[in-house]
Subunit: 316 residues, 2 copies
């Protein structure tokens, strides 16, 4: 079998497992284009993320972990829109066609994608430095689409989960820093297996005024909401949720990492004061860790109780 | 202005020129996801292509030419489905953020995309070795979707344009071979500015039984139709359309290049004998160069009048 066919088969197998019964998927892998019938009354939303080895994940990492995380980073954008996952495409550039690597990578993708109904329907595989471009597609009811532009003065600002762990994990994952046992596990999961906030987002979409996922660091990402909504914000450093593990391991830099570290893929959202009760009910019902960290203001951006400098993820 | 914003602005400007009046595009660049309302009764089709510098195009090439060709290679997949272009996303990995390079690249993309109604709606820009992943999306009436699976025994096989020029152009474009004036122009255009067969495809979609675009070489690509349709083919080497320029410049290898060279992005399609008159009418009306090169058979694959070996584009 030619290597090209081998690759196609690996991905076709990954697809077959979950395509059955999906009325929206008309044509999958293997033609010039894939073909989809978007369900009546729904809109298509989609997001593309590119991950480069050595920059967005460490060299020589476990291919299953890379596959899982690649899907997670993209699905996080669907969550931020309150969308239901539907299908994805994969542009995979890799130095050689190692079937074991590919199978593990495909399995890692499937582990996250399959249970949430996200099906691989096409893409392109090319030779070159390891680069993964993934485009995820979801469906939304247009009346519940959440953009970044809806925040209003006086709205509360919330974040889910804890922040800073993924950024703290980077030197551990690249081998620059060594930690033991439980702490390693904690940071391994924080980096490679970010919690999916899809269900939380679908529950929250009816009450939030704006939402995004925190990928480049809270301070940097929240600016997107402020800019799109033409408002300001005041957040309280003392309210930023930080894990026990991070506080123990890096007590002096925990807050900075939580404010500026990327890759956590938690949700940051705003909601009017009138939604507080409903948000409390949702977070209790879903056992969703979720904290109010500040308020939308007229203009400007202030982090009370933090003296340091801010540096978010720099794309260049 | 930060480099990140600079990049966003370059692509936002490229988008703004053509987004006006498009009812299907609800949300473009700048949120977690783009949002699209697929027109009622139509299906979405899409295709992703990845291009790596030094492998799919020469190092240090003109960015406008790279941009134009990147869109062309992708649009060719829409043509092969008989789809109407709608929007595209761009996963761009590049070693540094040179605004001049980016502006020229965006302009090259727009030159082809804008007149055909293809709008950039999102993507991701990352640092790394120059790699371009482009996903184009189009709309089709489901009753006229063309797949690779419809070829029937006895159908005619056609190709548009001429074949082999783009493959012959590669050593010229990389500087390995030198040619002069007119010949250079001819091969430059064949490689960097493949003819768009969109209009031809939209006219042909009602009469063809199967269709694809020739990207990896005719002999290799036609196998996809044969496999998907469970049929064979006999083509006549003497009927393969080859340019005068190629015949003059490479008389001994012209046929081999036409049969096995990639990157021409011409259409190869099959149609029943009963469609011959209509196809002749379409090709005359559109001034579309189009040649019947063989017949679909029960099984097997024969190229009459060719003794050499076949080697299509190897992805690895």
């Amino acid at each position: 079998m030619k290597e090209f066919e081998l690759i196609e088969n690996i991905f076709k197998n990954a697809q077959m497992a979950s395509i059955a019964g999906r009325q929206d998927l008309i044509l999958g892998i293997g033609d010039d284009c894939a073909q989809v019938q978007v369900p009546a009354g729904q809109h298509l939303v989609f997001s593309m993320d590119s991950l480069v080895e050595g920059r967005h994940f460490p060299f020589d990492a476990d291919p299953a972990a890379i596959g899982y995380r690649a899907v997670a980073t993209c699905v996080s954008d669907l969550a931020a829109m309150g969308a239901k996952p539907a299908f994805f495409t994969l542009g995979l550039t890799l130095p050689d066609s190692d079937p074991q690597w590919l199978s593990a990578f495909a399995q890692g993708m499937s582990e996250l994608a399959e249970p949430i109904g996200l099906v691989l329907v096409g893409g392109d595989t090319t030779k070159g430095p390891l680069t993964i471009s993934l485009q995820v597609h979801g469906y939304i009811e247009p009346e519940f689409a959440i953009s970044r532009a809806g925040a209003k003065q006086g709205d509360d600002i919330y974040v889910t989960g804890v922040l800073g762990d993924a950024a703290a994990a980077v030197p551990i994952m690249t081998g620059e820093m060594m930690v033991k046992g439980d702490i390693y596990e904690h940071f391994y999961d924080a980096y490679w297996r970010p919690e999916s906030r899809l269900i939380a987002a679908m529950a929250l979409k009816r009450v939030v005024s704006s939402m995004l996922d925190v990928s480049d660091g809270l301070v940097q990402d929240i600016q997107h909401i402020l800019k799109a909504s033409s408002v300001g914000a005041q957040i309280d450093a003392g309210l930023i949720p930080v894990s026990e593990a991070l506080l123990q391991w890096q007590p002096s830099s925990a807050l900075k990492l939580a404010l500026t570290g990327g890759d956590d893929y938690e949700l940051c959202f705003t909601a009017p004061e009138s939604a507080r009760e409903e948000i409390a009910l949702i977070t209790q019902t879903l056992h969703l860790p979720c904290k109010k960290i500040g308020q939308i203001t007229d203009s400007g951006f202030v982090v009370q109780g933090y003296e340091g400098e801010f540096e978010g993820w720099q794309h260049f």
